[in-house]
């Protein structure tokens, strides 16, 4: 059995291997390696320049001014407050969330650009805190958006917040700050939890499904029975045609 060796590049008149950088097809795993190296470098840099959008819903916000200003000075960690969601990396939720403010938080979160991180600060964002039996406050933030980290305490001292920031930075540096992708992977579940509180016609102006497709993060649970309701109630905000959960080809991962 004879083996034919196929040369990778055939010298031809219009092809000069010395100057043409595309002379070799890049292997897929090689491409992934390159991408991973770039990602690691980017993560390393990103961890050192974070902008926080502090959503001051509760009393815990009072610990933020000393954290950010000269006393504890989070700027030496590279963390600064930012005024708009579109320019922020971290959404810092500083206390109890009533159902009404949760709505605004979700709107804000969806406006932020990936990669984005959510910190729930204070007992209230973890389990309702001292409002645990209130009909108006949300108990578990992570049901409605992916949370990277909770800082416990009622309220946490600036030292604890700094510690939290450092841990988040380390996490991002290691390339593990990927919770935000979960919002796209499991959008159906998150939307379902949101609909349970706000009613079946709840939707935001953000087309999360199109974003998931853009980031290449569509997965089994991106679409489902809850996103199907979007077609009914939010058709003006969602790219047409809205893929039905049944019609979309499943990714194999």
């Amino acid at each position: 059995m004879s083996q034919t060796v196929i040369p990778i590049h055939q010298p031809s008149a219009d092809h000069n291997p010395d100057t043409d950088i595309a002379c070799r097809t890049v292997e897929p795993q090689e491409k992934n390696l390159l991408r991973r190296v770039i990602d690691r470098v980017a993560d390393h840099c990103r961890a050192r320049s974070l902008f926080i959008l502090h959503y001051c819903t509760g009393c815990g916000a009072i610990e933020l001014p000393p954290t950010i200003t000269s006393r504890f000075d989070s700027e030496r960690l590279g963390i600064q407050p930012m005024v708009t969601p579109r320019q922020a990396d971290i959404l810092l939720i500083t206390g109890y969330l009533s159902v009404k403010t949760l709505k605004r938080v979700i709107l804000t979160y969806e406006q932020m650009q990936g990669p984005k991180y959510v910190i729930g600060m204070g007992s209230c964002s973890i389990n309702g805190g001292m409002y645990w039996h209130s009909y108006a406050t949300v108990k578990r933030l992570q049901e409605y958006m992916p949370v990277d980290m909770y800082i416990a305490g009622c309220m946490p001292r600036p030292e604890a917040i700094q510690q939290g920031f450092l841990q988040l930075m380390a996490k991002i540096d290691r390339g593990e700050g990927t919770a935000w992708k979960d919002y796209y992977h499991n959008y159906n579940t998150y939307l379902g939890h949101q609909q349970a509180l706000f009613g079946p016609d709840w939707h935001t102006p953000t087309d999360v499904i199109a974003e998931a497709r853009h980031y290449d993060l569509l997965s089994d649970n991106t679409l489902g029975e809850h996103t199907d309701l979007l077609a009914k109630f939010a058709s003006e905000y969602v790219t047409h045609p809205i893929p039905s959960a049944k019609a979309i080809p499943r990714s194999t991962s």
């Binding site: 009909y135 049901e143 509180l197 706000f198 009613g199």
Partner: protein, 178 residues
């Protein structure tokens, strides 16, 4: 007993209406209990003759034993610097009362608030749309019959907790400070 704060003007007003009781509760506070149907007249008279111009709040109490709502109208006079609290009782069923928006405009907000928290309907109130509880589908939550805890149990899930986490934190040098 401090010196009576019922001025002549006020005394005249209170004599014009069938008052249930008048009681001074603090140096500058007067508690007046009246029949529900005379309340608008009382507000008019107080506003006209004694300078009780400021309706600072309307509060509501749910009395489950007597099946009544108690409505308290707090009126402040900048002239004599006194507060009159007018208490009335209305039956829970059907839970309707007249709006005093035409006498005191700020009543619109208070009535809207009480309508959403207790379900009292104020006839003639300009707007009884949901005010704070725009994401609320349940019964009026301030009613004593509303069981907040049972509602929470069935609406929300509890966070998991493991005592091991505290140990992990302590191993890292953190923990609870006594």
């Amino acid at each position: 007993m401090p010196q009576s704060i019922v001025t002549d003007d006020l005394d005249a007003v209170l004599h014009e209406l069938p008052t249930l009781s008048v009681e001074q509760t603090a140096p500058r506070r007067l508690k007046v209990c009246i029949k529900a149907e005379t309340l608008p007249a009382l507000l008019e008279l107080l506003k006209g003759s004694s300078g009780y111009l400021h309706l600072s709040a309307i509060s509501c109490v749910d009395w489950p034993d007597t099946e009544e709502f108690e409505l308290v109208y707090h009126l402040w006079s900048y002239e004599v610097k006194q507060l009159v609290s007018a208490h009335i009782w209305i039956p829970k069923q059907p839970g309707r009362f007249v709006s005093v928006y035409d006498i005191h405009a700020p009543a619109a907000f208070f009535e809207r608030d009480i309508h959403e928290m207790f379900g009292v309907h104020f006839e003639g109130s300009p707007n009884l749309e949901p005010f704070i509880l725009t994401e609320w589908y349940g019964p009026p939550p301030m009613l004593k019959s509303f069981n907040s805890r049972a509602y929470v149990e069935e609406t929300f899930q509890w966070q998991q907790y493991s005592p091991e986490w505290l140990k992990e934190l302590e191993a890292k040098g953190g923990g609870i400070v006594e």
